[in-house]
Amino acid sequence: MVKLWIDGQKVEVKENTTILNAAKAAGITIPTLCYLESLNEIGACRICLVEIKGCNKLMAACNTPVDEGMEIYTNSPKVRQTRKINLELILSQHDCRCASCVRSGNCSLQRIANDLGIVETRFPEHIVNKKWEQDFPLIRNNAKCIKCMRCVQICEKVQSMNIWDVANTGSRTTVDVSENKRITESDCTLCGQCITHCPVGALRERDDTDIVFDALADKEKITVVQIAPAVRAAWGESLGLTRDEATVKRLVAALRKMGFDYIFDTNFSADLTIMEEGSEFLEKLSHKETEVFPMFTSCCPGWVRFLKSQYPDMVGQLSTAKSPQQMFGAVTKTYYAKLLGVKPDKIFCMSVMPCLAKKAECAMEDINDANAGRDVDISITTREADRMIREEHINPALLTEEEFDTPLGVGSGAGVIFGATGGVMEAALRSAYYLVMKENPSPDAFSKVRGLQGWKEAEFDLGGTRLRIAVVSGLKNARRLIKAMRRCEVQYDFVEVMACPGGCSGGGGQPIHDGEELAGIRGSVLYGLDKSSDIRFSHENPSVIKCYEDFLDAPLSHKAHDLLHTCHFKG
């Protein structure tokens, strides 16, 4: 243990603790900006500076370890003055038109500037704008970038993609797409983790809310919206709702108030996915000699993009089942259009997703099978949905809960856990067990695959067949797993991969809380919903059963293949 004094207060911490953490332990706040715990402790913004007695230089608290007997001042006149100058320097190169910024009110730079009492800046403004492909689902605004390098770090250290890098040197040092590429030429998976870890508004999703408002205003259109599982665990966070208030039924009410004609649940198509993907897996298992294992889940478009660009030779191992979003679109514009007795192109089908990659997924040409343009016309993130609610001046706290529409608003507990890492695997195993054993397992029989670890593995017995499964979340973990697989160090039959750490709960389209990782808390909300659900097996979802009876015939039927499966080699 090391004893030291911070602002006159005696503190005792473990050796090699940083000054920042020592102060935190003592209840003393040191402002930080570029700092991202264990990922970006680079002392770049020079906001967390502190004065150490006997040292003429101010030191960054985030990456300076404590020493025995240190006397640290976190707010001495020298610190105060220097910190303020540094902040003003940052502001001089930041587009401070906060009123038109998507992160206004949720911006670390804005907060620190307010906290430090900045009322005017003494330096002339020097804003550097750079061109960006505005059609790409991920938008970077150089004029707002403060070069904290968090995006570079998260993309490299958590996602192993290295899409971002430091570009140029000297005064023109900035962040840009690595290897001198354009973003459209890069292998960006659109996981969106760079956005959720950006302290300011330099990174955001392409805003598609106007398209949705236009559709809502179009009297000719029947607007259908699906809500992804993970959205319900997060949507209320940026609207000031408590977790108890922010139920999915209140979100349904808000969307209905906004004018959507039919409000459905992606849980329905998650259950459908389980029927198709589970059956596909069992089919593969029955031809064990000729099939290549493991089979990979295909519901995460970030992961699918990853595999296509990083290991194209393994794309054939992806389940051919479409993601729940796309299954929903295909079913809506065929089966449901028929139920409504309308032409499918009358329907505007939209999704609310915790995800950016979904925007790209629904725009893929070869994903559409309903012969009515896009199966899913547009996908918006949880954040965009929240912004729409605000734009409509809806106060969701005052709304009474409302039910989803039927039949596509019915989902099982197995469907809802799709939003957490391990959920797809667990849901699939629940139904696979049933399909093989002709009886249900205990719904919690496969709970071993839950939890936030990046790489989980388990073995289960399925009617005498030993199943080796793995669940990974975060693309670096996916890469580790694939590398280990290719070196024959591990062998699996079925692998679930989610691009975002913790799965969709921690998705790149979810509300942003700087410095907090909420995938775990949101995931536990989803597991709670599963537990309290009346239906806990995808194969028991009555709407799914009916859909097969009336329309699709059976899992893997000809029609199911046409509508619910895709060829990953195209597009």
């Binding site: 680079i42 230089k57 990456n63 750079k130 040197t169 000297g170 023109r172 001198n180």
Partner: protein, 611 residues
């Protein structure tokens, strides 16, 4: 009234002079990878400030060049800007009245030719193609990428064994390098911005000498794969060491009686004592490497036999043969090659030059080595004949100074033209033509014959030290590509085109270079041979580097290495250089600015823990 007065600098001028010096130091410490256009624009700004302002091209033109360069840097430039930049710079070059103007313009033109693609990238993509890949200057300058701040911190913490372990991860020969490395790591040391570079080599030597015996790590599980390494010099031994650590079965084929290559047969023991070399080799071999001595590949063993018997072959034969001066009298029996002489010394056959006058032809390190060795063999006079200026010598400055201090006569701007023979056909002198230094070509001025008369330097023995050749004929016959001049053509991953199991590196690929380059080539080859064989063994060390702490770094002079006094050291072949004291090593290690932590290092990872 006084007519004249003594000119003294005012305070402002003194300060500026001081700043000039600091700027020079700062430029010395420029990290590699900076945007060259940005740097060129910055130089131009300084050049412009130097203008007296009298003439149009310099006063106005240099400013316009800057504007255009800024436009290009800020993404406002087009091909037209580039075109106008070139035309304007040319106009300034042709028309400026003095060097302040035309030399500034010439620098711009040189840059436009030298990093045109970077200009293009700024115009087309709005960004620089350069990248600061390795942010720690010393590590980036070390061919083997040794973790310099890491081991300096370990020396500071008095953890010498760990320092040696950490160095060996990237360079298996710290003892050798602690004495004779050319220390490119020191060139761009950021400490230059404050005072002067850290004495890195000296600290390495200190670590090795205080670590005691540091055993090698346990090799990985045996793979059963066999690798032949041809040549037991630093490159071959390094490759063999890493390959053996990876679990492969390695055999070194050494044509001479002992290992070491140029370390033994090129470098005299007053720079690298044999005991140090032998001890280092012994430790490295202890990892489990077989050595076949006196086996010359191509003669004693055919290359296709190796190819059949081994899974991979690493050619590290070095540059071992002498080169002829191609002049009259060269074949006299008392005209010997430096390579030949040093080889004999390597096997501890010492000639007696007592009372003899020696003429050494050449200006490289080898020339200095034979000159200084000759003094130790009792020569009465040693003259080093070199056609360029002393400052143009390729030998390290310390070597030239050392030779001179020991009594060698450095005769520069003297081009040998023929060797004078007596009636018995023995050389009795070297005719030289005095030279005048001329235009600069590739950074060095070309010597040209002056109008002075040729003269004869009388001598009893001529030693020719004008470079080394590569004996690659047998390899060429086997289908290994060889460049003109005999160098083996290898790819940057050290493989050989069309022969997947053959790898080559070191002097035999690059021509005579440095020990650290040979070691680096061996490391690269080991990694890629391992991959070629289908493995991915990781070389790492568990040594934890002490965390960088607060950055209170007062200025402090560099500890320089002391040497034994001249009159004593010329009498023997014992090590000249004296190692640092404990006190010196502690102070010197504390001078390290820890660029692995402070600055870009903390972002881009100043440390690679494994390879």
């Amino acid at each position: 009234m006084s007519r004249l007065r003594i000119i003294t600098q005012n305070q402002a001028q003194k300060t500026v002079e001081n700043l000039y010096e600091q700027l020079e130091q700062r430029i010395t410490a420029s990290p590699p990878g900076l945007c060259p256009v940005d740097m060129a624009a910055s130089f131009l700004k300084i050049s412009h400030a130097q203008s007296c302002g009298k003439c149009v091209p310099c006063r106005i033109g240099l400013g316009q060049l800057q504007c255009m360069m800024e436009d290009i840097l800020d993404g406002r430039g087009t091909e037209d800007t580039l075109d106008l930049l070139e035309k304007t710079a040319s106009a300034i070059f042709y028309s400026a009245d003095c060097a302040i103007g035309y030399e500034a313009a010439r620098m711009v033109l040189e840059g436009m030719a030298g990093f045109r693609d970077d200009y293009e990238s700024h115009i087309q993509k709005g960004r620089c193609i350069c990248e600061l890949n390795q942010p720690v200057p010393c590590v980036s300058q070390c061919p083997a990428g040794v973790d310099v701040p890491g081991y300096i911190a370990l020396v500071g913490a008095k953890r010498y064994e760990d320092a040696v372990r950490l160095i060996r991860k990237d360079n298996p020969m710290p003892a050798v390098c602690g004495l004779i490395c050319e220390h490119p790591c020191e060139n761009r040391c950021r400490r230059n911005m404050m005072d002067s570079s850290v004495n890195i080599r000296g600290l390495k030597r200190f670590a090795v000498e205080h670590a005691g015996e540091v055993p090698v790590p346990k090799p990985a599980e045996a793979t059963g794969r066999k690798i032949a390494v041809i040549g037991g010099g630093p490159g071959g031994v390094s490759a063999a060491y890493y390959l053996a650590l990876m679990g492969h079965s390695v055999t070194i084929f050494e044509q001479r009686k002992q290992l070491g290559g140029m370390l033994r047969y090129g470098i005299p023991s007053y720079r690298l004592p044999r005991e140090v070399l032998d001890e280092e080799l012994k430790v490295l071999l202890s990892v489990g490497i077989e050595v076949k001595y006196s086996s010359k590949i191509g003669q004693d063993i055919k290359i296709n036999e190796l190819e059949d018997e081994y899974d991979a072959v690493y050619i590290a034969i070095g540059a071992q043969t002498d080169r002829k001066v191609e002049m009259e009298g060269e074949n006299a029996p008392n005209v010997v090659s430096a390579v030949e002489l040093l080889r004999r010394i390597g096997d501890e056959t010492y000639p007696d030059f007592t009372g003899k006058r020696i003429a050494v032809i050449g200006g490289g390190n080898v020339a200095m080595d034979v000159a200084r060795s000759s003094i130790r063999f009792g020569a009465s006079e040693v003259a080093v004949l070199y056609r360029r200026r002393r400052v143009d010598m390729t030998a390290q400055k310390e070597e030239v100074d050392g030779a001179e201090a020991e009594g060698c006569e450095i005769m520069d701007l003297m081009a040998p033209v023929k060797i004078a023979l007596d009636e018995d056909g023995l050389a009795n002198g070297v005719w030289v033509k005095p030279q005048i230094t001329g235009r600069i070509k590739e950074g060095r001025p070309i010597p040209c014959p002056s109008m002075q008369q040729e003269m004869m330097i009388p001598c009893d023995l001529v030693i020719v030290a004008i470079g080394q050749g590569i004996e690659s004929k047998d390899f060429e016959a086997h289908g290994i590509p060889v460049k003109r001049g005999g160098a083996i053509e290898a790819l940057d991953m050290s493989g050989v085109k069309n022969l997947p199991s053959f790898f080559a590196g070191g002097d035999c690929v690059t021509g005579p270079a440095t020990v650290i380059r040979a070691i680096a080539a061996g490391k690269v080859a080991a990694a890629n041979i391992d991959e070629f064989l289908g493995y991915h063994h990781i070389i790492r060390t568990e040594v934890e580097v002490p965390q960088a702490r607060i950055a209170n770094r007062p200025t402090c002079g560099r500890i320089t290495m002391k040497e034994r006094i001249n009159t004593q050291r010329v009498k023997d072949f014992k090590l000249i250089e004296i190692g640092m004291t404990q006190e010196e090593a502690q102070q010197e290690s504390s001078r390290c600015l820890r660029c692995d932590h402070f600055g870009f290092g903390v972002l881009k990872g100043g440390r690679s823990k494994k390879w």
